[in-house]
Structures are given as structure tokens and as C-alpha cells.
């Protein structure tokens, strides 16, 4: 089956900022994204764990969006701004998809 090249944006982000990242992606014309819950994490010297903190303030999520490179590029500037304030990191990779028109 013929596959087509697209890109996969993955943002590891504090849960409270997930809606903001979503709005940035929507604004950049990304056709869809999915948010996954995280369970625990480590960064620098601190750790967090979902069930261990009743305030849930440090919960992280992972946002995955499959999209055209152009849309991801359109989002990156604003995401950099977002990640300057909010806790998180992002990465982009190349993937192959079946129906390129969907993205």
C-alpha cells in the first residue's frame, strides 16, 4: 500500500496548559490531535506521580498531532511561547500515513 509522508508533533505538557496548546494547534490549521494522560515523570531534579498529589497540579499530558509540516511550522512559534511559560517539551518526527488528504 502506498504511504505518504506527514509529520508527528508530540508535546509533553502540563495538563493545565493542554487547552492552550490545543487552541494553538487549531489556530495553525492542524486537522486533529489527541491528548494522552501521563502517569509520572522526571525532569531535572524533581519527580511527579499522578496519584501522589491531591492537587494534581503537576500532572502532565502528551499531545500527539499528525499533520502537514506546514501546519506544524505554523504552530511552532506560538508553542515556543507557550513552552517558555508552561512546563513541557516538544518534538517533531517524520511518519507515513495512508490517506494524506485527512491531515
Amino acid at each position: 500500500m502506498k504511504l505518504y509522508e506527514k509529520h508527528r508533533l508530540e508535546i509533553i505538557l502540563e495538563r493545565m496548559a493542554a487547552d492552550r496548546a490545543g487552541r494553538v494547534l487549531e489556530g495553525a490549521g492542524v486537522s486533529g490531535y489527541t491528548v494522552l494522560p501521563a502517569l509520572a515523570g522526571y525532569g531535572g531534579s524533581t519527580k511527579w506521580r499522578r496519584d501522589a498529589d491531591i492537587s494534581a497540579t503537576r500532572d502532565m499530558v502528551v499531545i500527539v498531532a499528525i499533520a502537514d509540516r506546514a501546519e506544524i511550522d505554523a504552530a511552532l512559534d506560538q508553542l515556543q511561547d507557550l513552552l517558555a511559560d508552561h512546563i513541557g517539551v516538544l518534538n517533531v518526527s517524520t511518519v507515513q500515513v495512508m490517506r494524506p488528504d485527512l491531515f
Binding site: 502540563e14 493545565m16 496548559a17 487547552d19 492552550r20 496548546a21 490545543g22 487552541r23 494553538v24 489556530g27 524533581t46 519527580k47 511527579w48 506521580r49 499522578r50 496519584d51 501522589a52 498529589d53 491531591i54 492537587s55 494534581a56 497540579t57 503537576r58 506560538q78 508553542l79 511561547d81 507557550l82 511559560d85 508552561h86 512546563i87
Partner: protein, 324 residues
């Protein structure tokens, strides 16, 4: 003295201590977040309903209105005091200080509930409207903190932020919706309509509280273990003396407004308590650069345990002393 001991040997305090010790001993045990959140909703429904039912039974007197006024004023003003205290006595920076101050102007509903038990145990009957006062005190502190932070230039619109999102987070969070909503429901249904739900919301309340406080102990203990390195001695001391300052302010106000002893004790407790769920969430949106390790460790790790054990008996004594 004996009452302080009674407080310290009540099941809820003991389960809190159990959780705290387990976390400090590095036990891996947890209460699942979904379950704990469900219990929190239950507790707020129960408190709101009871408060509303009591309010339905009692007329809205001038004292009720004065209590609301006092609560709002305290929530607006205490963050200022807290902010100055933190800046003077610790190395915490402006934005972190503003964020922490918001927590101290706002309230802890579990501290409120624990105080209610103690106040009722000595035969005082605080009014149901104190629940509404508690709900009303959640928010103003956040406004003060944002003003303090904006002076530091810390507030700007983060990418993707939306008109109204902070307002919704602050005014329509679970705690406000459930507390105020259940209060109104209780007020509408009155004692008679409340009756069939009492086995769940009244009889089971104490037990659920034990379970919830076990989880709070675990959270507080883990917060302490993770966060204490972020705090200098000045900050930790702040977590211990700030509730006393707040209690002092509130006592004065209660005395001026001639509130009854039971109501006074609870209002003092509310003033002395610090938020650890609603305000941290709001701060992540409004002041994302403020470090959660600081404000959570202070409010959940230092002030909450202090209030639960030593604070409440003291606030009761203060309420009895200044109360009309």
C-alpha cells in the same frame, strides 16, 4: 489542653498522620486520583447540602451578611499581608510570593470541615451560611495576587490563552460549582427533602473524611519530601506564622462585627487556612512561571498539617474569646 488532645486523637487526624508518615517513610501506596477526586466531590456535596438545609431553616440575619462581608474582605486583604511577609522573611521571588499569597487568602474546605467538628463538639452551633462564606472566600484572593504579580510584569497572555478561561477556572471550578450548587439545592429542598439522602451525606460523612484525610496525608508527606529543598527557613516559618496572622486579622474583624463564637471560630479557621486544589490550578493558568513546588509545599505540606493539629483548637479558643 484536653481539647487539643481530643483533636489530636480524632480518627481524621490519626489517618492524616498515617498518610503523612507512610509518605515520609517512602511507602509507594497511593489512593487513585479518580477515586480521591470522587470523594472530594462527595465531601463538597455533603457540606453544601448541610449548609443549605441549615440556611433554609434560619432567616438571613444581619449577622449572616456581616459574615459574608468579613469573608470577602479577608480574602482580598490577606494576600497582601502574606505577600509582604514572604518578601520580607524569605528569598522567594515576587511572582512566587504573589502566587503563594493567593493560597493564603483563599481557603481549605477540609480544614473548615475539621474545625466544624471541633466547634460542634464543644456545643457551639455555627450557622450553615459559613459554608457559603467559605465558597465566597475562594476567589477574591486570586484577584489580589494577580494584581500583585502584574506589578512585577509577570502577567501577559500566554500563547493559546483565551478570553474567559481563567474566569471559568476560578468561578466554575469543581469546588465552587459543587459547594455553591449543593448549598442552593439544600436551601431549596430543606430538611424534609434532605431526609432521604442523609444516610449517604450525613451518616457516612465522618468515615469518608477519614479515607480522604489518609490521602491528604500521603499528598502532604510527598509534597514535603519533594518540595522542602525549594524552601528556605524563612519560607517554612511563613507557613507556620502566616495562619496565625490571618487568624489575628479575622479575630479582630469578628470582634468588630460581633459574630457569634461558633461562626467566629469557623471564620478565623477559614482565614487561617490555605488552598491546595483550586488556587494551584488557577495559578498554573494565571501565573505559570510561579513554581508549584513552592506554593504547594507551603500550603499542603506546612500550613495544612499545622492547622489541622494545633491551629484548629487555637482558632476555636480565639473564636470563643472574640465571639459575641
Amino acid at each position: 489542653m484536653s481539647m487539643a488532645l481530643d483533636t489530636l486523637t480524632s480518627p481524621i487526624i490519626l489517618f492524616f498522620a498515617l498518610g503523612l508518615l507512610a509518605a515520609l517513610a517512602r511507602s509507594e501506596m497511593t489512593v487513585p486520583e479518580a477515586f480521591a477526586k470522587g470523594l472530594a466531590i462527595y465531601l463538597m456535596m455533603a457540606i453544601g447540602l448541610k449548609g443549605g438545609v441549615e440556611m433554609a431553616a434560619n432567616p438571613l440575619t444581619g449577622e449572616v451578611i456581616r459574615a459574608f462581608g468579613a469573608g470577602i474582605v479577608l480574602s482580598f486583604v490577606l494576600p497582601l499581608v502574606a505577600f509582604m511577609a514572604l518578601r520580607l522573611t524569605s528569598k522567594i521571588d515576587r511572582v512566587d510570593a504573589a502566587a503563594s499569597a493567593a493560597h493564603y487568602g483563599s481557603i481549605s474546605i477540609v480544614t473548615f470541615v475539621a474545625a466544624t467538628e471541633v466547634v460542634q463538639a464543644v456545643g457551639l452551633m455555627p450557622g450553615g451560611h459559613l459554608v457559603a462564606v467559605a465558597a465566597v472566600m475562594e476567589t477574591p484572593a486570586i484577584i489580589t495576587a494577580l494584581l500583585l504579580a502584574s506589578q512585577a510584569g509577570a502577567r501577559k497572555n500566554v500563547a493559546g490563552s483565551q478570553q474567559g478561561e481563567l474566569f471559568r477556572e476560578v468561578m466554575l471550578n469543581a469546588s465552587v460549582v459543587v459547594l455553591v450548587g449543593a448549598l442552593i439545592v439544600g436551601w431549596i429542598i430543606g430538611p424534609e427533602g434532605f431526609e432521604p439522602t442523609k444516610p449517604f451525606f450525613v451518616a457516612s460523612f465522618q468515615g469518608v473524611l477519614c479515607l480522604f484525610l489518609l490521602d491528604m496525608g500521603l499528598s502532604a508527606g510527598r509534597g514535603l519530601r519533594q518540595g522542602w529543598r525549594q524552601l528556605d527557613a524563612g519560607a517554612v516559618t511563613f507557613g507556620l506564622y502566616m495562619p496565625l496572622i490571618s487568624a489575628g486579622f479575622a479575630s479582630a474583624l469578628c470582634w468588630v462585627l460581633a459574630l457569634q463564637p461558633g461562626d467566629a471560630a469557623l471564620l478565623i479557621t477559614l482565614a487561617a487556612s490555605a488552598s491546595y486544589i483550586a488556587v494551584p490550578a488557577a495559578m498554573r493558568l494565571a501565573l505559570p512561571r510561579a513554581k508549584p513546588a513552592i506554593y504547594l509545599t507551603l500550603s499542603l505540606g506546612v500550613t495544612f498539617p499545622f492547622n489541622l493539629t494545633f491551629g484548629i483548637p487555637l482558632y476555636l479558643a480565639m473564636g470563643q474569646w472574640v465571639g459575641a
